[in-house]
Symmetry: C2
Subunit: 407 residues, 2 copies
């Protein structure tokens, strides 16, 4: 029941020159589904990543952060589904390391040149042998698979694959950005994790790329929420092969902005697709908080509204129960002078100077809530900072899915 | 479907000497239900109150806070259901004031000697004339009604009345504490509000009472949550008539502790009953966070777990999906050294030193989750502070009720 989640046509999903993909069946996921994905990167590829802020980082996150930090070149990524290897302690780290070591041997690279990712059940030990046994036959397929195959093989509770792909001409060079994501948002730590992988044939200088990925995440993967449950495995990676010949060395490069905007567009699209596929979602909700004193203040208000089960259930019911939005702003723990508050549903002004807009007609609010894409616009009128986050409504289906037994 | 919510037998619900109760039908609530409650207090009654922290305080809250602050004696309380008079701006305040003025005239007291409370739909103007018209016939019934009648007449979405009553012998004097509460927690701002009213025939010196009510609320009404939605109207009031002849003037009074403990017991009982009656609740969950550095830290962890829809749906499903608890602790934004974390479900140790307890058997967790009363015990092992909060699970019923149209 994903909300307006489009899958590009196969001929619109472009490979990235310099990235080879392999898909396998390790048997970690039940009834031999594809559960193993490998990205092999050509030499000279720059890689940056950001990871979950959850204190209980999963074992693969701990290893990947370490390997990214040690400045070696990253040459391969390996992703398994079916088990998140989280809450598994030192044993879990050994298992994840063992997989990197084995994969390194077979590709004749240092295990520290590998990033590893896991998504699936939390707090169950990873059957690493199944993965290791599957490596040879999986690697035989290197280069025979597409980004679409990868989008499918990293799915857990996702109902649809999440893919972005676009080409752009920049000063005579054709560049490509293709990416995939998975996760029903942060809403499912027992089938954990939001993952995002973006590849491009542009080259971006490493320290610049490290800075860009943080900025881009704050427009995209750090701006989505379903129920505020931040998984132990969340990871977002950008890989730059440079094969297009376009090389961005600093922010003054005349092409920097174009590349930044395309990567940002890709990230927002892939992040939004996670919300569009959120379990039980029937509506896609954008929350704009405007004229806040600072970003933290704007986000506090936005998340307070986005996490209110009362707001979410009212949207599910298409009931313009606008009082619930006002109430959620009121307990967001942000100092605002209530008289300055304005709230719109799309273009319908519902709250004016902190109280119900005297000209508001319920049928107008009703009409907005019938739609599948809704914008809640909240103006605090006390500063210059705006923030945008994306969320969804709260349905019976959500409870059903999350109340289900894991088996 | 309230969880173990007991209603005392009529002969166990004791009146409070010095408090007269009147109940009426103003027609604010549909199909002439009782929707008006008046407490008339004998002269010399000390009253203390605490109110919602929501920025958008309802009009009656603004007036009651003002009247309590101006040190006059409080002689009467009036409560209406059906409309919360919240988000209604200056007009709403005028309407609430008008009710106090009219009631004052008829009782020949100053309108500033009245506290007023409203609960019901948010952001709709209060039909104050209906209430004013109902005053004379309602006041005719003064003294003819019981605390049980009052418990019923303040109900909105509550499925059961919430009543506590106990007598105690203190140095030869029989004292009585009787109280009522309403609300399906903070979960329903469109039928808003948590209200608690406790009466006793003990006399407690005003400044001491002001201090006591804050301390008591932090064991009770400030320690319950269903979905974190703090209403605009929450109010908790203690009324001390002194008619028992027992008079507590300071904390050194040998009887202070006994009185404090009984009022605390009453408040915890009335607060828990709100959670037991929370919409859709099928389980009553106590969360103990132990050995935290300070209270704020303990509460952050506790509420992070209590507000996780994933934890709540897992409990609804009786699925010991223990990873979800660990994850919620991990994103609670509290600095803890993960290795020190221990988590128990009742007496079953599920997390040991920050990872799954190797000796944990799922059937043990299963057995705990079959029960209707569950204790999640979380030890951070980094300090000396403990906190306890009360919450419930998250069911289909919750979505159904809150997705319902208001009509």
């Amino acid at each position: 029941m994903a909300v307006n989640l489009n899958i590009p046509d196969d001929n619109k999903i472009f490979p990235i020159n310099g990235i080879e993909i392999a898909i396998g069946e390790a048997g970690v996921k039940k009834n031999n589904k594809k559960d193993l994905t490998i990205f092999k990167l050509s030499s000279g590829t720059n890689v940056a990543g950001i990871f979950t802020k959850n204190l209980f980082k999963a074992a693969p996150v701990i290893i990947s952060e370490k390997n990214l930090a040690n400045q070696k070149q990253i040459k391969t990524l390996i992703i398994n589904t079916g088990n998140a290897n989280a809450g598994t302690g030192s044993k879990g780290i050994e298992k994840a390391q063992k997989i990197c070591t084995e994969l390194g041997k077979q590709l004749q690279i240092d295990s520290q040149e590998i990033l590893t990712f896991s998504t699936g059940v939390v707090m169950e030990q990873l059957p690493e042998d199944k993965i290791i046994n599957a490596l040879p036959r999986t690697l035989d397929g290197l280069g025979k698979y597409t980004w679409k195959d990868a989008a499918y093989s990293i799915m857990t509770t996702d109902t649809k694959p999440k893919i972005f792909s676009e080409k752009l001409d920049i000063s005579g060079k054709e560049i490509t950005v293709t990416g995939i994501s998975k996760g029903a948002g942060m809403i499912c730590p027992n089938m954990a994790t939001m993952l995002g992988f973006i590849g491009t044939d542009v080259q971006i200088e490493q320290s610049l790329l490290n800075k860009m990925i943080k900025e881009i995440a704050d427009f995209s993967f750090n701006r989505i929420t379903v129920d505020g449950d931040t998984s132990t495995n969340d990871s977002f990676i950008i890989m730059c092969t440079g094969k297009s010949g376009l090389d961005i060395r600093n922010e003054n490069d005349p092409n920097y902005k174009k590349v930044f905007e395309l990567l940002k567009k890709a990230s927002i699209d892939l992040a939004q697709k996670i919300v569009r596929d959120a379990e039980g979602a029937t509506k896609f909700i954008t929350i704009n908080v405007e004229k806040a004193t600072n970003s933290q203040e704007a986000l506090k208000v936005a998340y307070s509204v986005a996490h209110s089960p009362l707001v979410k259930t009212a949207f599910y019911a298409s009931d313009p129960n606008i009082g619930r939005i006002l109430v959620a702003v009121g307990y967001s723990d942000v100092k605002i002078s209530t008289n300055n508050l304005f709230i719109w549903l799309n273009d319908v002004l519902i709250v004016k100077n902190g109280e119900i807009n005297p000209d508001y007609i319920e049928s107008d609010g009703q009409q907005v809530l019938q739609q599948k894409e809704i914008i809640i616009r909240i103006s605090l009128n006390q500063g210059k900072t705006n923030e945008t986050i994306y969320t969804c409504d709260f349905s019976h289906e959500y409870v059903t899915i999350n109340a289900d037994y894991r088996s």
